[in-house]
Subunit: 126 residues, 2 copies
């Protein structure tokens, strides 16, 4: 297994307004951990979704809103978002600049589902 990976030039994936790179996960032999990096363009948002594991998002740059359980919480840069398993949530970039995040999950692969529980297919592996 490769223990040191240069991130520049690694193959990522995208959703509308979102650029994604799986920093580490199943491809690196992990089963209980996955680490993602994303950038979100101003005005973009994740789909409403939930995961089958714990998630922590570190917001490095940008500002936005976390929608969680019907609550709306605004946040700025240098913020940590804590998302328990199976809790539908959505992240919006409401600022004028690109939002940059690192997200950690307590399993690999990460299960991602719509709020009604149907699987949400993502264009990357975790």
């Amino acid at each position: 297994m490769q223990n040191v990976l240069e991130n520049a030039g690694r193959a990522g994936a995208s959703l509308p307004g979102i650029e994604h790179l799986t920093l580490a996960g199943g491809a690196q032999g992990l089963s209980g951990l996955s680490l993602w990096r994303q950038s979100m363009a101003p005005g973009s948002a994740t789909p409403p979704h939930q995961h089958d594991c714990e998630e922590v998002v570190l917001v490095l740059e940008g500002s936005g809103e976390l929608h969680l359980d019907g609550e709306v919480i605004a946040f700025g840069p240098d913020t940590t978002l804590v998302l328990p398993p199976n809790r539908p949530h959505q992240i919006f970039n409401t600022g004028a600049t690109t939002m940059r995040t690192v997200a950690a999950f307590s399993r690999s692969p990460v299960g991602t589902f719509l709020p009604d529980g149907a699987p949400l297919a993502l264009p990357w592996k975790s």
Copy 2:
């Protein structure tokens, strides 16, 4: 539980040359995930140590060396380090600038041990 935490002003901890902040872990109700942020001064190093869980380190800034299983691997900024459980390792800042990292672990609290298996007490909770 608090789902959104502003990191500025949160209480951290330190080891010689290392400034630490537990971004999320047991204090946020997590059991399978812990996220840390650290900065390491030029010339500093972690103790040789191992964990009882998977670890991924994202090196945001700086350059250094990973010592793992007797191997020495140099790395620059924007690098991902993948550390399987129970593998003694050590990270050195060999550069001229502060190294900044985010580290994710597959459990909370994170067990940290010396290479001989003795527990290593750290001045922070995870």
